[in-house]
């Protein structure tokens, strides 16, 4: 907690010196959002320190469902596992899945968008029709089908799949950005100097298109986390006993009437983190929007 505050304060001091940084923190929800994120990232990294029990450890299975108390901060679940400890380790899994899947999605989306926007013509048509098809299939269906087709899916495959079904929107965004950038003088100049397509895209186009990618990335992590939670809730996501927040909700909800705490806290955790991501994403959008430069 203290550590998280310190991190946010330090960031704030550093970032304040730049104009976008000031705009970022002018956003009323940016500070709290960043704090929530820093908090969960901190406990995820320091999980062994802040968790009193290992995440799988079943303390006393003859007496499960302890209400929250000093000994068990958030109570224990129907398997007599400490909810707080699982929440902390679950932060690693859930945030990790969100971040990695988003990285995959952003990479693929950026690559496809850049290629389509830069080369235009048939490359663009083919890729964008592909994106149309991808957007037409609801993601959860695609994921469910994939999970059903290949039995016992490994965690990394699941993460990859979540990422690979999430790049369509990003690619459109990047394509639009690249389309407008490639007509600008500095890109034209680079091309005239004989730079290859790869070099132009990486050195000149993408850095200037970074803002929307970062913003959509920040917002996207939240989507990825919600998707993971939904899949795990249906029993088709992260395999037991790995503690993901979605898994924790699924494990506890049958006993909601007896022990509300074991599904409520992980649900709150997801909501808080996604909310923080949204807040930070919004603030970033405002901060990085070049149109606001003049204001």
């Amino acid at each position: 907690m203290v550590l998280a505050l310190a991190v946010v304060a330090a960031l704030r001091r550093r970032v304040r010196r730049t104009a976008p940084g000031r705009r970022f923190f002018r956003h009323p929800t940016a500070g709290p959002g960043l704090f929530v994120l820093a908090f969960f990232v901190t406990i995820a990294i320091a999980a062994p320190v802040v968790a009193p029990y290992p995440p799988y450890y079943q303390i006393d299975i003859s007496h499960p469902n302890h209400p929250p108390s000093l000994q068990f901060l958030l109570g224990t679940d129907p398997f007599s596992r400490d909810v707080w400890s699982r929440l902390v380790y679950g932060a690693r899994v859930s945030l990790g899945i969100g971040a990695v899947a988003m990285l995959v999605a952003a990479t693929v989306g950026t690559a496809v968008g850049a290629v389509a926007g830069y080369f235009r013509r048939w490359v663009d048509s083919v890729l964008m029709r592909l994106v149309d098809v991808g957007l037409a299939m609801p993601r959860i269906f695609v994921l469910l089908m994939a999970v059903a087709l290949w039995d016992h899916i490994a965690l990394w495959v699941l993460v990859l799949l979540i990422g690979l079904t999430g790049w369509f929107g990003t690619s459109r965004l990047v394509r639009a950005e690249v389309l407008s950038l490639r007509e600008r003088e500095f890109v034209a100049a680079a091309r005239a100097l004989g730079a290859g397509a790869g070099r132009v895209i990486f050195r000149h186009v993408l850095p200037n298109a970074a803002a929307p990618i970062i913003v959509s990335g920040a917002l996207g992590i939240g989507h990825m986390m919600l998707l993971e939670a939904g899949l795990s809730f249906l029993g088709l996501g992260v395999p037991s006993p790995i503690p993901s927040w979605g898994n924790m909700i699924a494990d506890g909800w049958q006993r909601m009437t007896v022990a509300w705490w074991s599904s409520t806290f992980p649900g709150l955790a997801i909501s808080l983190v996604v909310m923080a991501l949204n807040a930070v994403g919004d603030a970033l959008r405002d901060a990085l929007d070049p149109r606001k430069e003049a204001a």
């Binding site: 009323p28 929800t29 964008m128 029709r129 149309d132 098809v133 957007l135 037409a136 299939m137 609801p138 993601r139 959860i140 269906f141 695609v142 469910l144 089908m145 999970v147 059903a148 087709l149 290949w150 039995d151 369509f168 929107g169 459109r172 939240g222 989507h223 919600l226 998707l227 939670a229 939904g230 809730f233 249906l234 029993g235 088709l236 979605g246 909700i249 909800w253 909601m256 009437t257 509300w260 599904s263 409520t264 649900g267 997801i270 909501s271 808080l272 983190v273 996604v274 909310m275 991501l277 949204n278 807040a279």
Partner: protein, 333 residues
């Protein structure tokens, strides 16, 4: 306008066609014959008979052709787990999903627009901030979790609403009296509210932003300069123009409603497409999964098409851009 519409229609059909093709080949490559999978082998006698019907001894392309031909006749095949034709099962489930989605959409837009306008009018003040933060929180919740919480509070603790299902099986085995319509609506409330609330939260955000955007534009300044009262400026001039983005939102809402429905139908035991698909997936009943995916995609594409058409009607400037852009976008899920 007509030509544009035809082009969009053709594009939409092409997209659905592509979805059909992809699912057909993916499922077939992974699981060959209609005799069930390795996991669910059907008895050899049954298999032979099915094979004759589906032509699994023929090359894959011929099978694909036959599949398309059957699809043209509305024949989606037999379900392995449900012991019945898939088209029948889907025909039973679709209206339920549709009604749920429609009710959710209604709540989504009614509540979302109202809140968005309220926020814009009170921009920067306490009401705006409070509503904004609550909306942000709801928009960030896992939709199934919100459903669980509502179920726990309103069905199991307060007993205000039923804990699931679609009608009371004793009093209303069929919906044929005013009472049963009420009973149906009573069952519909919680699931529709869950989906609608999450939707409304983002609708409100869009609406607020759109209205504030319009406020900065010239004609609003002119209106203001003419000495009109602020409230009137907002509600009459700004609102009219800020309704445009809502149409886009309508297109976006479709995929969200269907993906959300998958989870919500499971939570509330609502016998719709989502629940059918989920149970088919747990049963590894691939023909049903394929059928459900196909129909859902078709509906998403249709939703986008409607949104584009509305957009084009509302704002002729858009037509060209929308025409080249293809379908709308996902994003909310």
């Amino acid at each position: 306008m007509a030509a544009w519409l035809v082009r969009r229609l053709v594009a939409s059909i092409a997209i659905v066609f592509a979805v059909v093709t992809i699912t057909f080949f993916v499922v077939h490559l992974a699981h060959g014959t209609p005799c069930g999978s390795q996991d669910r082998p059907l008895p050899p006698e049954v298999c032979q008979q099915l094979c004759r019907r589906f032509g699994c001894d023929k090359p894959l392309l011929v099978q694909y052709g036959m599949y398309l031909a059957r699809l043209g006749h509305g024949d989606l095949g037999e379900s392995i787990g449900l012991h019945r034709p898939i088209a029948d099962a889907l025909a039973e489930a679709i209206p339920n999903t549709f009604i749920l989605a429609l009710a959710a959409l209604l709540i989504d837009f009614a509540l979302g627009l109202a809140l968005g306008i309220y926020q814009a009018v009170r921009a920067g003040r306490f009401g705006d901030v409070a509503v904004g933060n609550v909306a942000l929180l709801i928009n960030s919740m896992p939709v199934f979790w919100l459903g669980l919480v509502l179920l726990l509070v309103f069905a199991q603790w307060l007993h205000w609403f039923p804990a699931g299902g679609i009608t009371d099986p004793v009093l209303c085995p069929r919906i044929e009296s005013p009472y049963c319509v009420l009973d149906f609506l009573w069952h519909l409330t919680l699931p529709a509210l869950t989906l609608g609330l999450v939707g409304a939260a983002s609708t409100a955000r869009y609406q607020r932003a759109a209205m504030l955007e319009v406020v900065r534009q010239d004609y609003v300044r002119t209106a203001r300069a003419k000495g009109l009262r602020e409230r009137r400026v907002l509600l009459v001039h700004a609102l009219r123009n800020a309704l445009l983005p809502i149409i886009t939102l309508f297109g976006l809402a479709f995929p969200f409603l269907f993906t959300g429905a998958v989870l919500i139908e499971t939570v509330f035991a609502w016998p719709g497409m989502g629940r059918l698909a989920v149970s088919a997936i747990l049963q590894r009943d691939y023909p049903v999964v394929t059928g459900a995916a196909l129909l859902t995609s078709a509906m998403v594409v249709l939703g986008n098409l409607i949104a584009d058409a509305l957009y084009a009607v509302a704002d002729p400037r858009i037509r060209v851009r929308a025409g080249e852009g293809g379908g709308g976008g996902g994003g909310r899920d």
